[in-house]
């Protein structure tokens, strides 16, 4: 019996490790392969994915109907999960390649659950596999951050976590009820605290390295992220317009090109950041990559006119003086490629984020110590 458990642990571990490795090493080449397909082939690939999900759904219905307990409740839950999957698929319509994350992280969650459920009870296995898959997802986004043709963001980590949660819900749907009712023991919780500490550290490190904190500014038709709140943006725009001595047009052109002077003070640093943000919006307006290109360009124009008008005035005058000139210093490499320093974490401040992560880690350690004493 022990040998059997050892053998199955060994195989499930290597399957899990192998699949994680495949996720990591295909990161730089997935867009290369995807772009090499024609549009119709890409559609075909996505349709095959949908068909796969539909086949899985039919198989699950067949499997549930064969079960003796709580058939109809399970079918109802399956319908609800299918609805959630449909929402996930439609939310990723803009980037169809991202839809493959759903299946990728679904398989990973399944492999992780299979590995952890050998030695622990079901609820512990779910929690352990969720934290493990989240760590892999953060690692995946780190690898995307260093890869020149990918972008790593916390939003993608959230999408991956959602995919793994959905996959785990599907697994829970077909498990016997007694297994789901197994309670967590103190020993399980002690083991789980280590997993959650590692996950918190991973997420904190990722956000610290890859993201910047800022504000989300919402209007009726559009929203955008900025390092400053909207009042501060207005203040900086007026300051740039009126105080030409502190920040001349030459300084602005330098900032547009991304040239930073060594001896910049507090206010000048803010102005430099303001001009860089303006240059990104001007670039986004001129190189809108979304399907709704016209709408995007119109929204970006509105943002520039309302918040970054003094910078655009200089760019326009520069355009009139000499042609052709680079409109803004921003480039594809800065906006869409790593490092994604301009993807901003909004609605929470940097200070609050670090305090919350520190508190969570301290709480987990204290819980760990308290529970270990009672074992």
């Amino acid at each position: 019996m022990k040998d059997k458990i050892k053998k199955s642990t060994f195989y499930s571990f290597w399957q899990l490790a192998g699949f994680s490795l495949i996720i990591f090493i295909t990161i730089p080449y997935f867009p290369v392969l995807w772009k090499s397909l024609t549009a119709s082939q890409q559609r075909l690939a996505v349709n095959i994915l949908y068909s796969g999900f539909a086949a899985l759904g039919l198989y699950l219905i067949y499997y549930i109907l064969r079960l003796s307990e709580q058939k109809y409740l399970r079918l109802l839950l399956l319908a609800f999960l299918s609805y959630l999957y449909a929402i996930m698929f439609t939310s990723l319509n803009q980037f169809p390649a991202e839809k493959f994350h759903l299946i990728e992280y679904g398989i990973l969650a399944f492999l992780a659950f299979r590995h952890f459920s050998i030695k622990s009870n079901t609820r512990t296995a779910f929690l352990k596999s969720l934290s493990f898959v989240s760590c892999i997802s953060v690692g995946d986004e780190f690898a995307q951050w260093i890869s020149p043709n990918r972008v790593g963001t916390i939003e993608d980590v959230i999408v991956n976590m959602k995919s793994s949660l959905l996959a785990m819900a599907v697994i829970a749907l077909i498990l016997p009820v007694e297994k789901l009712r197994e309670r967590l023991t103190r020993k399980d919780i002690v083991g789980l605290t280590y997993y959650f500490v590692v996950l918190t550290l991973f997420i904190t490190a990722f956000i610290t390295l890859v993201h910047e904190f800022g504000y989300e500014i919402r209007e009726r038709n559009y929203y955008f992220y900025s390092s400053f709140p909207s009042e501060k943006l207005h203040e900086l725009a007026v300051y740039i317009k009126d105080n030409k001595k502190d920040f001349s047009n030459m300084d602005m052109i330098k900032a547009l090109r991304g040239e930073k002077s060594d001896n910049m003070k507090g206010r000048q640093k803010q102005l430099y950041k303001f001009v860089r943000e303006a240059s990104f919006h001007i670039y986004e307006r001129d190189n809108a990559v979304e399907k709704k290109k016209y709408d995007k360009a119109v929204n970006e124009s509105e943002i520039i006119d309302k918040y970054y008008y003094p910078v655009y005035a200089v760019v326009k005058s520069r355009l009139r003086m000499e042609k052709p000139v680079p409109i803004s210093g921003a480039s594809d490499s800065e906006i869409y490629k790593s490092p994604v320093k301009r993807e901003l974490i909004y609605q929470i401040t940097e200070k609050h984020f670090y305090i919350a992560s520190a508190c969570l880690i301290v709480f987990l350690f204290m819980a760990n110590i308290y529970l270990r004493r009672q074992l």
Partner: protein, 157 residues
């Protein structure tokens, strides 16, 4: 090598180092146009002291093979508009090694991907078209065979 090395960055390299770089270290190479600073990914050493180095820039996916005689030195620090990054401290050395290890593993896939995505109608497209057409052909043959079988059985009756 952006974003690590940008326009107007100053790069300091140890040209007296008579050693092969470790995977992940940033090196200064000479080429026909002058000098180039890239990251060493894989190192092939021969017993006679010569060897080859596979290098790659951080901002591109192209791997280039260079002879060890083209290696001028190993980069020790970079100054980016007043911000100095040293590569000889333990943390950066470890990060560089991890970075190198990752790309070393990815490099194994490189040839396969280039092989299947090269050419006007690449192998991947041809493979998908072949699988699709063959699948359709198999279904068509099966249906023809079933129809013939059915008509034969009807004739016998």
């Amino acid at each position: 090598m952006t974003p690590l090395i940008q326009n107007k960055s100053i790069v300091f390299a140890d040209i007296s180092a008579k050693r092969f770089p470790v995977s992940g270290e940033i090196c200064l190479f000479k080429n026909s146009e002058g000098y180039v600073v890239h990251r060493a990914i894989r190192i092939f050493r021969r017993s006679d002291g010569s060897g080859e180095i596979i290098e790659k820039g951080d901002a591109s996916l192209n791997f280039t093979l260079r002879q060890s005689c083209d290696l001028v030195g190993i980069v020790t620090s970079v100054s980016n508009q007043g911000c100095n990054i040293r590569f000889d401290n333990p943390l950066n050395r470890y990060l560089n090694k991890t970075y190198g290890l990752y790309w070393k593993i990815v490099y194994m896939l490189n040839k396969i991907v280039i092989n299947i995505t090269d050419g006007e109608q690449n192998r991947l497209q041809r493979f998908i078209i072949n699988v699709f057409t063959r699948g359709v052909m198999v279904v068509f043959r099966m249906m023809t065979w079933l129809t013939i079988k059915e008509s034969n059985s009807k004739n016998r009756q």
